[in-house]
């Protein structure tokens, strides 16, 4: 099923990898996202910025299917995914990382990455039991993909380490690896550099650029470090209190008076992290 719809998605692929059109979401009386639209051209890096509570993560959650929007429409490469389940969206090639690392801390780096391949695995419980050879062959093929990622992210010496034992920056890198294991066309990164020091941030920025350029993955990124955002993004969308207040190239956005005001206002109102 997933295979068939993925094929259709490919056939329907337009110029935009992702289109979000007039999406709103309310939680009780609170409007988290209000009438937000954005377009992500294939192969681009788009950053979503904004003060705390602007609705960035909620928007990401709607794209990855964790929340259903109240109104509006989300299209992945021309295919309407508004009402699809997270697992279906993942199978269509959308991978994400989380603001608060969500790895299986008891499992090794390798196992965490292998888990990322799960949606791509075809052998079910039954076929694994009946014909072990096929499942094993598949396992080897997946391991190969994972080993490429391990090399890509320079995790060779950490393969057999439980992720709980790793430093924070490394865990973030492993999480990126797990997202990559899904072989995504669209990668959603929720604060991939949060809590990192300058060196780790530079490394991560490098990895994101490499993922984008070498693997041709479209990236949607939420990030607070403006230096990084302005450096690596092709386009920037600014949210404030659930609304889109600006969009454009990093240069345009930086000069936008609405953006400046939103940021200064937010700083006065208690600051952002």
């Amino acid at each position: 099923m997933a295979g068939a719809s993925a094929q259709r998605a490919e056939a329907l692929e337009g110029d935009n990898q992702l289109v979000v059109a007039g999406v709103s979401k309310k939680f009780g009386g609170v409007t988290a996202v209000q009438d937000v639209s954005l377009e992500v051209p294939r192969g681009a890096i788009l950053s979503i910025i904004g003060p705390n509570g602007a609705g960035k993560t909620s928007l990401l959650n709607m794209i990855s299917g964790f929340y259903k929007p109240d109104t509006g429409r989300i299209e992945l490469a021309g295919l309407d995914i508004t009402q699809k389940k997270p697992s279906q969206i993942a199978a269509l090639g959308v991978a994400r990382t989380f603001q608060n690392i969500a790895l299986f801390s008891g499992l090794t780096v390798l196992d965490n990455l292998m888990l990322g391949r799960h949606v791509r695995m075809k052998a079910g419980v039954l076929s694994s039991v009946i014909y072990w050879g096929m499942a094993q062959k598949e396992d080897i093929a997946h391991r190969q993909v994972v080993e490429e990622i391990i090399e890509f992210l320079k995790l060779q010496d950490l393969r057999k380490q439980p992720t709980a034992a790793l430093a924070y920056g490394l865990r973030k890198r492993v999480e990126l690896g797990r997202a990559l294991a899904l072989d995504p066309k669209l990668l959603l990164l929720d604060e991939p550099m949060g809590g990192m020091n300058q060196d780790e941030k530079e490394d991560m920025a490098r990895y994101i650029l490499d993922v984008n350029q070498e693997r041709g993955v479209t990236v949607v990124l939420i990030e607070h470090d403006m230096g990084v955002v302005m450096d690596i993004s092709d386009r920037v969308v600014v949210l404030d209190r659930g609304r889109r207040i600006a969009a454009g190239t990093p240069d345009e956005v930086q000069r936008d008076p609405a953006v400046i005001e939103a940021y200064l206002g937010a700083t006065k109102g208690g600051g952002r992290t």
């Binding site: 890509f152 060779q156 010496d157 393969r159």
Partner: protein, 646 residues
């Protein structure tokens, strides 16, 4: 009959061709990538060398041209070197951790026209030097990672050169065979730049004859078999790696194995279980430290078992070296220990298959040495020099001894000069320094004797003993000889002392600057409940200074009175190759250090209790900054060691 007597086997690439013809399917070289050991057979290895050579030739590489490789040990980099030699060129391996300003000297001096770089990091360095290297025509990269946005026309991928070579080979079918046949034993195979403890690096030209002769001699006196595994983890620019991973591997059909990354060496070593191992003392010491830390973390029962068998093994080893017989109980104990402790420990260290292990480059502490010997590791000493194709003398299995460097290898003559300098003559002695005739004349006498620059003597057994660098041996003001390295090595046997630099030439007493080992000293401080933040902070703790003082007193107890260290200080940073204080092979550049720390040395002898030091620090990317601090000078309290050393 020597390999050099036949025109079919008198160069390194010809030896590769022979191996490919005689054992095409057997493993030739191996590399761990993506978690799996991937093998190239001798035939594949030879094909790769041929195709890469043809690719280079198609891009205008001619006889006598120089190619540099820079990166961690990778089959592609060995392939590139052999391809160069097959075309009658010279390979110039350079240290992968060199900063750009060091590289530019070597690459410029060697007139390198092609650089084969492992990855983006090395490509960046090479590109940054492009304008300063008039001969440079081509930069070949192995790992394309991160290079997607590079469009410099001098850049080519390794595969594209190989592909060009295949195409060139189709239209010129016997080109390679002809070029290979033109090669002769006396052609220069490589220029090995010695990092040199003084002045600029010097390029030692080694011919195929040098390298093959050294390999043959070594194989003659050491137990090696075709197909033996060897871990190629030491820097490719160090002549020792070329001697083993190229010379010996090709002459003896040994398999060079490249680890996955520098971080995984220890794990790869254990997985591979090589048949032989060469490591500098610091790696042996590191292994011992790891064992001690692990046994310290084990359950009390395991720890007691370990300690019991360790003590037994050391007792028996001492008896054995004294030639005393072992009792039946001791023999039984050793057998049980082999089963429960020694075998598993060797397995953990990756030495379960190792028939012999060598340590060289610097003396190894007798305690470390005895530990490995007693645990059944056949650890021996080897002595060599770049100018002697890495190998001069080594010990036979029955004659292992931490105090000597063994007997000269076959066909090598050694004599001791009147002033005590070790001189040698043999087919492994190099051709000369590249473009430095004057230095060559200073090093190589008219009759072909190589001055090693080391002071030494032969002991009663006929073993060579090395004391120090001849030019470093000085005199104290009372006229007694002062051999700084000899003293420093005694100091460095302490696990808490990472580096020591002793002074005393034309001075009334011996003093020493100590760089603490931040790991062991840090653990010690933690156990004592001392909080510290950094190397600098730790080195300023009076408790640490007192502890190091006791360590020095212990070392002093093994030294004659006049040679004993009287005053010392703890450096607030490690000695660094990036700061030019050490060579890339981690030897102290004594003269440079003496100049840099002149103020400190004066303070030592003026009796000051403190000295102000301004230090330049070079960061990895070449940025510099300076730091001014006060460093305390301490007196070694004589006769107060915790326990007298034997």
């Amino acid at each position: 009959m020597s390999l050099l007597d036949s025109a079919r086997t008198d160069t390194l690439p010809k030896l590769l061709q022979r191996n490919a013809e005689e054992s095409p399917g057997a493993a030739g070289i191996r590399e761990k990538t993506r978690g799996v050991w991937q093998t190239l057979s001798w035939a594949d290895y030879n094909d790769n060398v041929r195709d890469f050579a043809l690719g280079l030739a198609s891009m205008g590489f001619a006889r006598g041209d120089k190619l540099s490789v820079v990166g961690d040990n990778r089959p592609q980099l060995y392939v590139a070197q052999l391809a160069t030699q097959a075309l009658g060129g010279m390979s110039v391996p350079v240290y992968q951790d060199s900063i750009a300003s060091e590289l530019v000297y070597v690459l410029g001096h060697a007139e390198t026209s092609v650089i084969v770089a492992e990855d983006q990091e090395q490509v960046d360095k090479a590109l940054s030097l492009k304008d300063k290297l008039p001969n440079l025509r081509l930069i070949v990269f192995d790992d394309p990672r991160g290079l997607w946005s590079y469009d410099d026309p001098v850049l080519r991928s390794f595969e594209s050169v190989v592909a060009a070579g295949r195409a060139f080979g189709k239209s010129n079918p016997d080109f390679y065979a002809k070029e290979l046949a033109k090669g002769q034993a006396d052609d220069i195979a490589m220029i090995a730049y010695t990092s040199g403890t003084t002045g600029n690096p010097k390029g030692a030209m080694l011919s195929h004859r040098n390298m093959i002769a050294a390999a043959e001699a070594f194989i003659e006196v050491n137990d090696t078999k075709a197909g033996d595994n060897w871990l190629s983890y030491l820097p490719m620019a160090w002549v020792g790696d070329a001697a083993f991973s190229l010379g010996m591997a090709l002459a003896g059909k040994l398999v060079a194995n490249c680890p996955e990354s520098p971080e995984t060496v220890q794990r790869d070593l254990r997985e591979l279980g090589p048949h032989a191992m060469l490591a500098p003392p610091r790696i042996w010491e590191n292994m011992l430290t790891i064992m001690q830390v692990k046994s310290g973390d084990a359950s009390p029962l395991k720890r007691r078992v370990f300690e019991h068998f360790r003590a037994l093994a050391e007792r028996c080893e001492l008896k054995r070296t004294d030639g005393k017989p072992l009792s039946v109980a001791e023999r039984l104990g050793l057998a049980a220990g082999e089963l429960f402790v020694y075998g598993p420990v060797r397995d953990q260290l990756g030495l379960r298959n190792a028939r012999w292990c060598y340590t060289g480059g610097a003396p190894l502490g007798p305690d470390t040495y005895r530990f490995f010997r007693s645990f059944g590791v056949n650890l021996k000493q080897v002595y060599g020099a770049t100018e002697a194709s890495a190998l001069i003398s080594c010990q036979a299995d029955a004659e292992a001894n931490p105090n000597t460097v063994g007997r000269p290898m076959p066909r090598i003559d050694i004599r001791i000069d009147d002033n005590g300098e070790v001189m040698l003559k043999g087919p492994n002695v190099f051709v000369g320094y590249f473009k430095q005739d004057e230095v060559t004349r200073d090093t190589l006498t008219g009759e072909g004797w190589l001055k090693t620059g080391d002071a030494g003597f032969f002991d009663k057994q006929g073993h060579l003993v090395i004391i120090d660098r001849a030019k470093d041996v000085g005199k104290l003001t009372d006229g007694s000889a002062f051999a700084p390295q000899f003293i420093e090595n005694k100091l460095k046997f302490s696990p808490f002392i990472r580096e020591a630099v002793a002074f005393g030439h034309e001075k009334p007493m011996v003093v020493a600057m100590i760089a603490i080992d931040v790991q062991t000293a840090g653990t010690w401080a933690e156990k004592k409940g001392l909080a510290y933040t950094s190397f600098m902070d730790l080195s300023r703790k009076p408790e640490v200074a007192a502890m190091i003082g006791e360590e020095i007193a212990k070392a002093n107890a093994t030294l004659p009175d006049v040679q004993q260290v009287k005053r010392y200080l703890l450096l607030n940073k490690e000695l660094e190759a990036d700061d030019a204080e050490m060579t890339r092979t981690r030897k102290v550049r004594r003269r440079f250090v003496a100049e840099k720390y002149a103020a400190v040395i004066n303070a030592f002898y003026s009796g000051a209790k403190q000295v102000q030091v301004t230090m330049d620090i070079t960061f990895e990317d070449g940025r510099k900054s300076s730091l001014t601090t006060e460093i305390a000078i301490h007196d070694v309290v004589a006769g107060q060691p915790a326990r007298k050393a034997a």
